[in-house]
């Protein structure tokens, strides 16, 4: 009898525990306020309920314009209506005037490649002024974007409400997050050249005259080149160059698996032998840092010569060259190892070493139960002095954006966060359980960017739009903002 009582008691405790776990799942609901700490909402725009990838904020005269790349449409709405034209348009590039961040004004939508999710759209966008480019039209402002998986395009957005196509580089099997040096015009385009053994590698172009692109070379990891055999190294995600002054390009390979940081001598890459032979692909490489098979390198953001307060009295090594590496979570509801943020000390370039990491504590929001992806995706890539080497902002899917104090990169510390509220436009995210879809609705903060004024722009993969934020309280003080 005593045994039975114990059994009933244990069952009761288990039942209560289950109920409590459910209560703490913190499922987002429409109408609930955003969740925030030391960050506040300044303004927003629904981006015509298009799934958003990358925002780039560009100052054009006395205006600030946000260019936002989109994924393809959804099963439910493949081609959303553009209210400005009244037409259904495949997701492409949104152009939003954010001069007044409290009242962002949607100016134009450039349609992208027909197709749903990653199969369409125009995810990536970079912008350079014509007057900065060596051979550009000084009156032009050039937008470099992907066109789905098949092309790169350059548009003149000097009048952001009326973009004009300048150039198209097509014939590709994939594209992704490219880098464009505005002072030289050299572009590191993430492409899928048809004859290469990988979906994504690098095509280096001289886009100093955007109307007349000049190809310099193809580049990738040995084993990816045409005609190679054997194991194929992890595909490229994206590069970031420090230009002729820094003479380095930091390549990130992998998204959520088998990641790698590759440090490349920019001069040797551009001026070295160009045929994609094993020797020529190895020639510009300075070092590689393989990561765990559990993690990928989505963004490799260099922060060179960072003074580290803790090392201030050391006779050597007071300043360190740091690369922040951000993995990308790709599976809903924690169906993979945690994707997070890593800091590598690359001061001794041929011996890069991981020194610290950061993730959002899952239990702080029961994020594995909220729906959609939980984990990092990307960081801001602006090197404007307002935040550079002081604060980093990380898009963390259903955990919103996280503000990190990185002044001591050996000990990065979260100082703020913002998780937007969901709306009627927020799309569901599903997992398959016993053959059936089980779907939840949650914010999916995909990318983040900052501008030189100190505003933070986050965009949502699940169609909730653009949110413009600012730091408050201790986070604002940590950034040195008034």
């Amino acid at each position: 009898m005593i045994g039975r009582i114990k059994l009933v008691t244990l069952l009761g405790i288990a039942l209560i525990a289950c109920c409590c776990a459910g209560a703490h799942a913190q499922q987002q609901v429409i109408g609930a306020p955003p969740e925030a700490s030391n960050m506040k909402l300044v303004g927003s725009n629904d981006l015509q309920a298009r799934s958003a990838y990358q925002p780039t904020i560009h100052r054009q005269g006395d205006r600030y314009i946000a260019y936002i790349g989109h994924h393809g449409g959804t099963d439910d709405i493949p081609d959303p209506i553009n209210p400005l034209t009244g037409k259904a348009e495949p997701n492409g590039t949104s152009i939003v005037d954010v001069t007044d961040p409290a009242n962002p004004r949607y100016l134009h939508h450039i349609p992208g490649q027909e197709g749903k999710y990653e199969g369409g759209g125009a995810q990536m966008v970079r912008v350079c002024d014509g007057k900065a480019l060596p051979k550009g039209d000084p009156s032009a402002v050039y937008l470099l974007r992907t066109f789905g998986s098949e092309a790169h395009e350059i548009w003149n957005v000097a009048d952001p409400a009326n973009p004009v196509l300048v150039t198209r580089l097509g014939g590709l099997k994939d594209t992704h997050k490219s880098w464009w040096e505005c002072d030289t015009g050299i572009a590191f385009l993430v492409s899928g050249a048809p004859d290469w053994r990988t979906r994504r590698m690098t095509q280096v172009y001289d886009l100093s005259d955007p109307a007349h692109p000049v190809k310099i070379r193809d580049f990738g990891l040995p084993g990816q080149e045409p005609g190679a055999t054997g194991a194929v190294p992890t595909e490229l995600h994206g590069p970031i160059s420090t230009g002729p002054q820094g003479n380095r390009v930091y390549f990130g390979y992998g998204t959520d698996k088998g990641g790698m940081l590759q440090i490349v001598d920019r001069g040797k890459l551009i001026n070295g032998p160009k045929e994609p032979t094993l020797d020529n692909l190895r020639f510009p490489e300075i070092a590689r840092m393989p990561m765990s098979a559990f993690n990928g390198a989505h963004t490799t953001f260099p922060m060179l010569k960072m003074p580290v307060a803790e090392f201030a009295h050391d006779k050597d090594g007071q300043a360190r060259d740091i690369v922040m590496i951000v993995d990308e979570a790709i599976v809903n509801e924690c169906g993979e190892p945690r994707q997070m943020v890593w800091f590598a000390d690359v001061t001794t370039e041929n011996r890069p070493m991981m020194i610290s990491s950061y993730t959002v504590p899952e239990a702080s929001g029961s994020f594995c139960e909220r729906g959609g992806r939980f984990g990092s995706h990307s960081s801001n890539e602006s090197m404007a002095p307002v935040f550079y080497k002081k604060m980093a902002f990380i898009a963390f899917f259903n955990a919103g954006v996280r503000a990190l104090d990185i002044r001591d990169p050996y000990h990065p510390t979260e100082v703020g966060y913002f998780i937007p509220a969901i709306t009627a436009a927020t799309d569901k995210r599903c997992v398959t359980i016993e053959g059936k879809d089980r779907c939840k609705v949650a914010i999916q903060t995909n990318n983040v960017e900052t501008d030189e004024r100190g505003y933070i722009y986050i965009v949502d993969r699940a169609n909730t739009g653009l949110h413009i934020l600012e730091l408050t309280g201790p986070a604002r003080a940590a950034a040195g903002l008034p």
């Binding site: 199969g119 990988t198 054997g230 194929v232 790709i330 169906g335 993979e336």
Partner: protein, 178 residues
């Protein structure tokens, strides 16, 4: 009463255990399950099987596992290079050369491609292998067979084994129930 409950529980556990220990593919002639022979990598271990020489034209080992979220949701397994990349050949050897262009295949409502290879092992020995990649939505089911049979026999044996009801049930479960 207490001891009766314990005895009942032990009996149930034994029955469940015995049922669990009885592999369904023990009924598939020539094949039996072996331990997954490779160290942990980015993907969880899958299942490994060996086919006797009499049944498969030479001893064949087959390694099968799902790769969740690793497939282009729209294009599926697009080309032979994708088979080179994803089919786990590199678990066996980093050095492999395709023998010919791959073939389209369909197993249990999943479409994909298979391709035959020559593998050069660390010892220098040559092996034949067949890589298999099947897509389901944004997920992959990959398999690689290696052994003594020739490529045609190996491919046929591997695909027949994957198409058995026992294996298709397991694959469906491994892909979230499909």
């Amino acid at each position: 009463m207490h001891s009766r409950l314990i005895a009942f529980g032990v009996a149930v556990a034994l029955l469940i255990g015995i049922a669990g220990m009885q592999p369904a593919w023990a009924q598939i002639e020539g094949w039996h399950e072996i331990a997954w022979p490779y160290p942990r990598d980015g993907w969880p271990a899958g299942r490994a099987f060996r086919c006797a020489a009499e049944a498969c034209g030479g001893e064949v080992e087959l390694y099968v596992r799902p790769k969740i979220g690793f497939c282009n949701c729209d294009t599926g397994v697009a080309d032979d290079e994708e088979v080179d990349r994803v089919a786990d050949l590199d678990l066996i050897s980093q050095r492999f050369v395709p023998l010919a262009a791959g073939q389209r295949i369909e197993v249990a409502d999943m479409r994909g491609r298979s391709r035959a290879y020559d593998l050069t092992m660390a010892s220098g020995a040559q092996h034949t292998a067949v890589g298999i990649a099947l897509s389901h939505r944004c997920d992959l089911l990959v398999a690689v067979a290696q052994g003594e049979a020739d490529a045609v026999q190996m491919r046929r044996a591997a695909l027949e084994f994957l198409a058995t009801s026992e294996m298709t049930r397991w694959m469906a479960s491994a892909l979230g129930g499909r």
